[in-house]
């Protein structure tokens, strides 16, 4: 997780065109964004876990992870959950609309650390967005890793993002996908799967705790509980990476808005070793 220096002018936004809009859930959408000109991303293609500062005009600029890395013509995907003005405007963008993007910024997941080891991905809610690239990268180079477990928690069955991808990963047979929901939401729901918190899925996951690397993203309470539960299973905290969120303005280490103790999350994070960040998350903020 070396500190990444942005390779494009960090404060100059690029115009990206919305090429596709896929509704994930009632409040979440995935946008496919492509450069409007040939220069755009250049060799600064994003890596899983990195983020962009995305702006919908007139609504504000916010950090959003890449949920799929540069594909055809430099197109990337971002999955946005509408929680306020900026994210609502982004989630409402339609093909043909333009958005502004700065990035890629931040560290990204250290996939090299998992070479030859079992991979455990634990995602809660929209936390699956920055982890989708990890699963795609691991599956694209499947022989490089041991067992692969993807454990996903969602609020209700209707709040599950990337349902199609989860089905696709499951169908491969060389990755274990387990999903749980906190509640059924609609009591008449035909959800056939687990109900309970995502840490409960660890009991049924098959991996060697002495040779496993875990990638965790979700609400902070969920991440703290997950790191504890991984510890109970025997996974060393040194083998756990987490992605943390803080409010961000510049995204490149200039303004201090994203400070978490001594860490500027936009530069040194958002992916950080759990051993480093957990004690900081336990400090009570007002």
């Amino acid at each position: 997780m070396a500190i990444a220096e942005p390779t494009v002018a960090p404060l100059v936004p690029q115009l990206l065109e919305v090429r596709a809009h896929r509704r994930e859930t009632a409040d979440t959408a995935t946008l496919t964004l492509a450069p409007t000109g040939p220069t755009a991303l250049g060799d600064a293609a994003p890596r899983p876990g990195q983020f962009a500062m995305l702006a919908a005009f007139g609504a504000g600029e916010v950090p959003i992870s890449y949920s799929a890395m540069a594909g055809h013509g430099g197109a990337v995907e971002h999955t946005v959950r509408s929680v306020g003005a900026a994210t609502a405007a982004l989630a409402a963008a339609r093909p043909g609309d333009l958005v502004a993007s700065r990035g890629p910024f931040g560290t990204g997941w250290d996939l090299d650390a998992a070479t030859g080891r079992d991979v455990v991905v634990v995602a809660g809610g929209i936390g699956l967005a920055p982890l989708r690239g990890v699963v795609d990268a691991v599956l694209a180079d499947r022989d490089r890793y041991g067992s692969v477990n993807v454990l996903v928690g969602a609020r209700t069955p209707d709040d599950l993002c990337f349902a199609e991808h989860l089905r696709g990963w499951s169908a491969r047979g060389d990755v274990e996908v387990a999903i749980t929901v906190d509640r059924l939401g609609d009591p008449a729901s035909r959800w056939p799967g687990a109900i309970g918190v995502v840490t409960g899925l660890l009991d049924g996951a098959c991996f060697d705790p002495d040779a496993a690397t875990a990638f965790v993203c979700g609400p902070e309470v969920m991440m703290r509980a997950t790191v504890r539960a991984l510890g109970v299973q025997g996974v060393d905290v040194a083998d756990v990476q987490v992605s943390v969120e803080r409010s961000m303005t510049c995204g490149v280490g200039h303004c201090g808005h994203c400070q978490l103790g001594p860490v500027l999350v936009c530069r040194e994070g958002p992916v950080l070793p759990a051993a480093r960040v957990l004690p900081l998350l336990e400090v009570r903020e007002r």
Binding site: G124, D182, G196, V197, G204, E220, V221, M222
Partner: protein, 156 residues
């Protein structure tokens, strides 16, 4: 399934980790395997809790019956987990319904046998109580997190 095969299932279940072979034998006496189809009821609220269930495959839903709304599943218990502890404490009656949500296999330990073995051997009693407490603690923490609605708006 033969008795030795059932005993092996019990010995391989996380609930009995830390128990000696003799202790496993003591609690596994009279155990049987229960196979359920999705939607099949295992037990109902208020009925005598005559067995401790160790889930070895699939998911069983813990449900609350709500007049007019039917049974609402509030959590599931999966492979490797203990299902229920009402068999341990008087009045030995279930507090919830349990219904399979997938094809499920469980080992049913005879509650009278387990309690008698624990009464007879304080070390086993402590170990069984500790395992049940571990399950209860995990469920309590899970229930608190579910109550927090962590994936709702306003959580980071």
């Amino acid at each position: 399934m033969t008795e030795p095969e059932i005993r092996d299932l019990v010995a391989g279940h996380p609930f009995t980790s830390g128990l000696s072979p003799a202790e496993v034998d003591a609690i596994a006496e009279g155990a049987r395997v229960v196979d359920l189809l999705p939607g099949e009821a295992l037990f109902r609220e208020g009925r005598p809790a005559t067995h401790a269930y160790l889930v070895t495959h699939g998911h069983v839903g813990i449900e609350v019956h709500h007049p007019g709304r039917g049974s609402i599943a509030v959590s599931t218990v999966g492979a490797g987990e203990l299902l229920g502890w009402s068999w341990l404490l008087p009045p030995h009656a279930w507090h919830f319904d349990a219904t399979a949500r997938s094809i499920a296999r469980l080992v049913a330990l005879d509650a009278t046998t387990v309690r008698a073995a624990c009464d007879h051997d304080p070390a086993l009693d402590r170990r069984v109580a500790r395992q049940v407490m571990r399950t209860m603690t995990a469920r309590l923490e899970a229930a608190r997190h579910q109550l927090l609605d962590l994936y709702g708006h306003g959580h980071r």
